[in-house]
């Protein structure tokens, strides 16, 4: 395998993301090619630097602050249910008004006929 081809695979090779066939060819090349071996070492160093990055702790008591705020809010689903209840109540009231109007209207017509 040529250097240009090997260099294309070096990142995947470091991640273990190459097929066995390619892995073997890259390995063989790295044993005899110093420039590619230098680049491979550099990529491995970069990988270990990235894997060594620190996981920082939160500076304050996040849990306490969030739980305090949770008491002031509800689930969005509750708000949604509330909105549905309100719209159902409005629709119910409108329907009731419409029916009352119709019933009164028809009884007035009946009275007029009589």
């Amino acid at each position: 395998m040529e250097c240009s081809k090997v260099k294309q695979f070096l990142f995947e090779y470091t991640n273990g993301d190459v097929l066995d066939n390619t892995k073997k060819l890259v390995e063989e090349h790295l044993q005899v090619c110093i420039p590619c071996e230098v680049q491979y070492s550099g990529i491995k160093n970069l990988q270990s630097l990235l894997e060594s990055l620190m996981m920082f702790k939160m500076p304050t008591d996040l849990k306490g602050e969030i739980l305090e705020k949770l008491n002031k809010i509800g689930f969005a689903t509750n708000k949604f249910k509330k909105a549905i209840k309100i719209s159902a109540a409005i629709s119910g009231a409108s329907l009731l008004g419409f029916l009352t109007y119709k019933i009164l209207g028809s009884s007035r017509k009946r009275e007029a006929k009589i």
Partner: protein, 189 residues
């Protein structure tokens, strides 16, 4: 025995707000570190982390239990980080805050694997990456997620995740070449 996330979520949805604290304990560090390294501002990272958990709580009813809770949570964290960065881009004056690694390290009990100068150097280079590459590097190397999990968070295929990781590492490699290939590498690692 560790209680599963789905069981905790069930308890929260049944009205046990305190149970949500268990999820905060479990995942706040991952959420905070993702945001911190994405936006490079420790104060804002704290506020956005709070927003992430408050939003997750509000929309917990829509969480699909077949999904991993952490993936869902980090997706919210990523979206809020993008919103913040978008808002910041719209501002005429953009300030670059250097993270105070000394303070950040002092709050952390774990022994640092890298010295402060190296942490600073790597973080600055990560922050200089385009957002799509920065996100991938943080999710993979800071939060330690696998390709499938990253694919779920960023809503891209596993193939795209692998391609972006390769691209991001190749950019970082070029920028950090003098340190990782040269004589200074022994001092860094």
């Amino acid at each position: 025995m560790e209680i599963s996330d789905n069981l905790i979520i069930k308890k929260v949805l049944e009205g046990d707000k305190e149970a949500f604290g268990e999820l905060i304990n479990k995942y706040s560090e991952k959420v905070y570190n993702l945001i911190l390294r994405m936006i490079n501002n420790s104060e804002e990272a704290k506020d956005i982390s709070q927003k992430v958990f408050l939003r997750a709580y509000s929309y917990l009813y829509s969480f699909n239990p077949k999904q991993k809770f952490l993936t869902w949570l980090l997706r919210i964290a990523m979206n809020l980080s993008y919103d913040y960065l978008k808002k910041k881009k719209g501002q005429s004056f953009i300030s670059f805050e250097e993270l105070d690694f000394k303070t950040l390290q002092s709050l952390t009990q774990d022994l640092p694997k890298l010295d402060i100068e190296t942490e600073k150097l790597i973080q600055n280079e990560i922050y200089n990456l385009k957002e799509k590459y920065r996100a991938i590097v943080i999710l993979k190397y800071v939060d330690g997620l696998n390709y499938e999990e990253i694919s779920g968070i960023l809503n891209v295929s596993v193939g795209v995740v692998k391609m972006r990781i390769k691209r991001a590492k190749s950019i970082l490699y070029k920028r950090l070449k003098p340190y990782i290939e040269g004589g200074e590498k022994d001092g860094m690692l």
